[in-house]
Amino acid sequence: MILAEATPLSHHLATWLAGLLGMQPNWLFSAVGALLVATVILLIVVTPVGLGGVYLERKLAGRMQNRRGPNRVGPYGLLQAVADGVKLLAKEDILQRGADSPLFRFAPYLVFLAAFAGFVVLPFAPGVIAADLDVGLFYFLALIALETVGIVMAGWSSNNKWSLLGAMREVAQVVSYELPLGLAAMCPALAAGSLSLVAITDYQAGPIWNWLLIRHGYWAIAMVPAFLLFYTAGLAAAKRAPFDLPEAESELTAGFHTEYSGMRFGMFFLPEYAMMLSLSAVASALFLGGYHDPLGLSAPGGAFEGAWWWGFLWFFLKTTFLFLSQIVLRWTLPRIRIDQVMYLCYKVLLPIGMGCLVLSAALRLLG
């Protein structure tokens, strides 16, 4: 109900449905509306996100490596990721001897859920959001921890030592990197005075110097390091190179998903891209003005105030830029060793994060 009330889209849907049936909108319609929105988001956003991410990654990797990348399946190989998905669905699902069956089966769902549930709080455009939670940012950070639980379950239940090692690395890495990630995310929240992603985005309405990254010039002192920190810690939280240790192929064969086959593997494969994308989206909402354009046309009083397509375009551009930069990084950098990952987190990123937070607080007090 709270979800439905907070969401204009689902609220409209509920009213429309009730009107269709000639009844007063009550909580049942609200719930149905919210569910419908969630389903639509899952269909329209999530599937293309996963598949498109895979396609982009393979194509871009090919381009970086003087190759062509997939180009036989569909025009420009566009259907490649679809073929992968259908193939994974039709593949045998193996439960190996010695595996902890319930955990083994449940882990991929948990990871999938955790990665895609983050989309609920993403402000895609003005008014286009599944649920504008007051604690949206907090909710998002909490989901990253939930994903870790799924991965540990997968690694433990596989009864495979490589999986176990991968899961242990995942715990060590992601739990540690949540600290700098949270600290970096707190800086914009502090500046905007809210944990709601919509509120933070709207705080940055107006021309480009209103964006938190370079807000009024002097905010850049705190926000540029915080942004880089968020980006780096985000890479680690999404297990992307150079922090892809939990599934480091040359070390742990396939890490925590060594024993998974078929669609269960696909459920580890797609969330990785979802996680990358949602982290990019949150980064753009926190620091780069989210759905606001650099000229201030979407700001109150601007030409495109409240135009969802205009906002979505800018949100999409910013997010895709960050997403692609993650892919480029992955295909450029070697992998960091596990002790260096820990060193980087606790001795480099964490102090920087604290510094950023203190600076932001000071700026908030002064300005």
Binding site: Q65, K161, S250, E251, L252, W331, L333, P334
Partner: protein
């Protein structure tokens, strides 16, 4: 006493018990390979680890034992040559050199000067190709995928060059007793020089992308040090030995096949970063050796004398007279040598091939103690083994 398929894993030297008594810790025994992305083939390593720290790594070989020596004893001289190619499939021409030099010395076969130069040119091209592959593969082990493809770009060009002369992309069967099979054209020589320029021009690219990458340096500098004594004790040769500071290169020390005619340096560790004998130095060593090899190729092509490319006395049914010889030569991975014994029969009586990887990988168990698993990968990648010659 833990025993895994006949391999005894020594107990003892357990980690000092720093944890409280009620936390139960246990050492893990991993089976790495034969199918593992960074064992470079079918090497199997049994690891005993304490979490991420390797307590013991026991390499187990033999999964690619292809009976090379028995086959050499069973087939005639000329028939046996292709099998030597298949020992080190990345540096096949250098493997041929290993056998042919011994047989030629034992049988006192004259090799025309032009053939000797051609051997040098093609062997050095092969060495460059092999080192490019090794360096790229090392990057791949460290998680950097793209440099590998960049190095493969030049490698493919080099393969095309070799293909044009020998007819094979990977395995050549080009060097024969008393010479080589085919001559090269002027056009090929021009292409070869152009290729040398191309590789030399791209060295900076590799260095920027991989060798001096900050993460790569952090991963490899000071990691898995193989010092001079260890290398000598285990018979490790080639880039490992030179990176450990021993200026031993058979092309300089015991010149064969006219290597004394060329002016080149032997790079010796430590190089500009890291400490002597660490993983980074072994990687850098290979890249520096590529540059020296390019120098040799350029000189050999300029100085290439006219004349025949094979000794007409060595015919199809040629046999070596009774005798024996031991000649070693410098292959990309170390010293390839052959203890050749002939009893005058149609086949060698005994042709004992020394695979450099066999000795190089044997030091894994001693060097790997106390490394992290990621470092073990760095060690294995920088040793750069080929299982074909390790198991023969």
């Amino acid at each position: 006493m833990t025993t895994i398929q006949g391999v005894r894993l020594d107990e003892g030297e357990r980690a000092a018990p720093t944890l409280p008594r009620d936390i139960l810790t246990e050492e893990l025994v991993f089976n790495m390979g034969p199918q593992h992305p960074s064992t470079h083939g079918v090497l199997r390593v049994v690891l005993r680890t304490d979490g991420e720290v390797v307590r013991e790594a026991q390499p187990l070989i033999g999964n690619l034992h292809r009976c090379c020596e028995k086959i050499l004893e069973s087939l005639t001289y000329v028939q046996g040559l292709p099998y030597v190619d298949r020992m080190d499939y990345l540096g096949a021409l250098n493997m041929e050199m290993g056998l042919v030099l011994s047989v030629e010395k034992a049988a006192a076969v004259e090799v025309p000067k032009r053939a000797q130069y051609l051997r040098v040119i093609l062997c050095e091209i092969n060495r460059v190709i092999s080192h490019l592959f090794a360096a790229g593969q090392f990057g791949l082990d460290m998680g950097a995928f793209t440099p590998f493809l960049y190095m493969f770009r030049e490698r493919e060009e080099g393969l095309t060059l070799l293909n044009e002369v020998t007819g094979g992309r990977l395995l050549y069967h080009y060097i024969r007793y008393g010479g080589v099979t085919r001559d090269v054209s002027d056009d090929w020589k021009r292409k070869c020089i152009a290729w040398c320029d191309q590789v030399a021009a791209h060295m900076d690219e590799y260095n920027n992308l991989l060798t001096y990458n900050h993460i790569f340096l952090n991963r490899t500098v000071g990691v898995a040090i193989i010092d001079r004594e260890t290398a000598l004790r285990y018979g490790a040769t080639g880039p490992i030995l030179r990176a450990a500071g021993v200026p031993r290169d058979l092309r300089k020390d015991m010149p064969y096949s006219c290597y004394e005619d060329f002016d080149f340096k032997v790079p010796v560790g430590p190089h500009d970063k890291g400490v002597v004998g660490d993983s980074w130095n072994r990687h850098r060593q290979r890249l520096l050796e590529i540059e020296e090899s390019l120098k040799i190729i350029r000189q050999a092509i300029t100085k290439l004398p006219a004349g025949d490319v094979s000794n007409p006395k060595v015919t199809r049914g040629w046999k070596a007279p009774e005798g024996e010889a031991y000649v070693a030569s410098e292959a990309p991975r170390g010293e390839i040598s052959c203890y050749f014994v002939s009893d005058g029969g149609k086949a060698p009586y005994r042709a004992r091939m020394r695979g450099p990887s066999f000795y190089n990988i044997s030091l894994l168990s001693e060097t790997s103690r106390g490394l992290l698993i990621g470092d073990l990968i760095a060690l294995m990648g920088s040793i750069d083994i080929t299982l074909g010659e390790c198991d023969r």
